[in-house]
């Protein structure tokens, strides 16, 4: 917005929770963003000026995201934000960003049905993750699904999409249950008993945050075995698996554009640098990778515009590509979402995600797909491991 002076850094706002229910995953996103910022600065910055993040902790409270976004954008320096995990927090930040004609980079999968000219969506839309996951599960485990979710907008919308796909494939949803976002281990007891009673082929979980660790652990302790009846998810990730332990995680399934164990050169060097910066790679997740490549996409755009004003940035971001750890990604000029890889992986005995199936090329995002057909994904060639 403001004309930056030559000696000052490019300041960007970073809103990832370091405390509260979604701290594990958002800390992972924060790390991804910080790694990219370090890389850019070590390479000399943009026009000789470094990128400087102003990092605030919204404590997993949607209201707090709005307040902090307002605070960050109130000054002259900041016009670009990286942040948000839960849809409820993005919805809070969105009007603030639009009002100021600022920019939000949102590195998280979500339920779709949104477009803002002021947001770049870096995570998967349902056509990029729900569809492939549903067909994989029905082929390999059967058509009787049990839905468990945290009670907010993403799980409900995500389940609506999943229900449509399952029905189209001739399967059935035997139950759809929700728990509080703050759910502790005991809150899953009655659901686990119900699962035992109804004996579904697969459990589809849209439980997010610390609830995820609690749910998988409680399932394991109640005798549930992921190798026999897996919990499938779009959000459960490496960091949460590390937190719950390999025993509780084994056999469970996640669909995402990126997994830590991808065997590519870009990923190997990404993991090396991540390890050098943070001393571990336990917290590397698909959302971390999305935050990482979104910062790079922003930096590349900034090189072309020389300003953080939204209008010029938008012009160069649309259609922009980047060789990310997951493979090549591209911002779709039609809808500000991202062409992403689509992969399905299963946790092995050591607690590592192993890719079972992947699309052979990035999938175009279709955020307004109301009635996904099972075969919508079928026109993309699939590689089975």
């Amino acid at each position: 917005m403001a004309k930056p002076t030559v000696d000052r850094p490019w300041t960007v706002g970073v809103l990832f929770s370091q405390t509260g229910v979604t701290a594990i995953i958002e800390q992972s996103q924060l790390n991804g963003a910080l790694l990219a910022i370090d890389e850019i600065n070590e390479a000399g910055g943009i026009e000789g000026r470094p990128i400087e993040p102003v990092i605030l902790d919204p404590r997993s409270d949607p209201q707090r995201y709005r307040e902090l976004a307002e605070e960050l954008l109130a000054g002259e320096d900041i016009n670009v934000l990286f942040g948000c995990y839960m849809s409820s927090s993005r919805k809070e930040v969105l009007p603030v960003v639009e009002r100021q004609n600022a920019f939000l980079f949102y590195p998280t999968l979500y339920e779709g049905f949104e477009y803002s000219p002021n947001v770049i969506y870096g995570g998967a839309a349902p056509n990029q993750n729900s569809l492939p996951l549903a067909s994989y599960l029905m082929e390999n485990y059967g058509g009787r699904f049990y839905f468990v979710g945290s009670d907010y907008i993403y799980p409900r919308e995500s389940n609506r999409v999943m229900r449509n796909i399952v029905r189209q494939g001739g399967g059935e949803v035997v139950a759809e249950e929700y728990v509080d976002l703050q759910a502790g281990p005991k809150d899953f007891q009655w659901i686990l008993e119900d699962i035992e009673r109804r004996a579904p082929d697969v459990i589809f979980s849209t439980v997010v945050g610390t609830g995820t660790v609690n749910f998988y652990r409680a399932y394991h302790e109640s005798g549930g075995d992921g190798r026999v009846r897996p919990i499938a998810s779009l959000t459960t990730n490496e960091a949460e698996v590390a937190a719950m332990g390999a025993a509780a995680a084994a056999g469970h399934i996640t669909a995402a554009p990126y997994f830590r164990r991808l065997d590519t050169e870009a990923n190997a060097s990404f993991l090396r640098r991540y390890h050098a910066r943070f001393g571990e790679t336990d917290t590397v997740t698909s959302c971390c990778e999305a935050a990482y490549f979104q910062v790079h996409l922003f930096a590349n755009a900034l090189r072309l515009t020389g300003t953080t004003s939204a209008d010029p940035l938008r012009r160069v971001l649309r259609g922009a590509e980047f060789e990310a750890p997951q493979g090549r990604v591209k911002i779709d000029p039609d809808n500000n979402h991202t062409y992403l890889q689509s992969r399905i992986a299963r946790v092995d005995e050591e607690g590592e995600y192993v890719v079972e199936r992947e699309a052979t090329r990035p999938i175009k995002p279709d955020p307004y797909l109301a009635v996904p057909a099972l075969n919508d994904w079928a026109n993309v060639p699939i590689r089975k491991e």
């Binding site: 049905f113 803002s116 000219p117 039609d334 307004y368 109301a370 009635v371």
Partner: protein, 216 residues
């Protein structure tokens, strides 16, 4: 409930026509319609001949009624779902929204957010209106048919001195024999009765006339 599901599920198959001068608002609307995945076409000025089937028409609504839009809507055999694009909330604009009988309104400047809601709500209003019209037409003809049947039964009962049940069975048998509907037979009976009645009445009044002429 079922109908509501239907509206969302059928969004992508809809033919959408945008009747609005080519400007930033029309552009913004077209882009969002494409994101949603509707089959979208923008035409300005409005076509002078009927186009292929239009499910939803977004139309510009201003302070004075638009002749060209009115003419275009006159061409369509089935009225599409109408959504007004209005930049003002002044009484004359509001009156035109009422007169055009729009099913929904999308305020200008157009933002991507809100387009989908306006379509879904307008579609519901339009479907409901259409369903109500069909229902009213059906009920109306039911009432008329039942009136006709009653009248025909009365005729037969008077003429042949039979009870209502037999009168009804007689009409139904005729209908089956002639491969007609009960209502059609009832109609014939009523008309025949009226004809007979008129012939008798007319001949009586003819006689009266001749007598009076004679006496004159």
């Amino acid at each position: 409930m079922m109908d509501n599901e239907d509206i969302i599920q059928k969004l992508r198959g809809l033919n959408v026509l945008v009747l609005h001068p080519r400007d930033g608002d029309a552009e913004e609307l077209m882009q969002q319609l494409n994101r949603i995945g509707c089959r979208t076409q923008a035409v300005w000025p409005p076509p002078r001949v009927a186009t292929e089937k239009v499910d939803i028409a977004f139309v510009e609504v201003r302070e004075k009624p638009s002749q060209v839009i009115g003419d275009f809507l006159g061409l369509t055999s089935e009225r599409p779902t109408l959504i007004g694009l209005a930049g003002y909330e002044s009484p004359s604009v509001l009156q035109n929204l009422i007169d055009l009988q729009v099913d929904g309104v999308l305020p200008k400047p157009v933002r991507p957010y809100g387009v989908l809601s306006s379509i879904v709500i307008a579609r519901r209003v339009w479907q409901e209106g259409r369903a109500n019209q069909k229902l009213i037409a059906k009920l109306k003809s039911k009432v008329e048919n039942s009136q006709k049947l009653n009248e025909a039964k009365m005729v037969l009962m008077r003429l042949h001195g039979i009870d209502e049940d037999r009168a009804y069975r007689a009409i139904r048998q005729q209908a089956m024999a002639l491969r007609k509907t009960v209502t059609e037979v009832a109609q014939s009976i009523i008309e025949s009765n009226a004809l007979l009645h008129n012939v008798v009445m007319d001949s009586q009044s003819d006689g009266d006339d001749s007598r009076s002429a004679d006496s004159g």
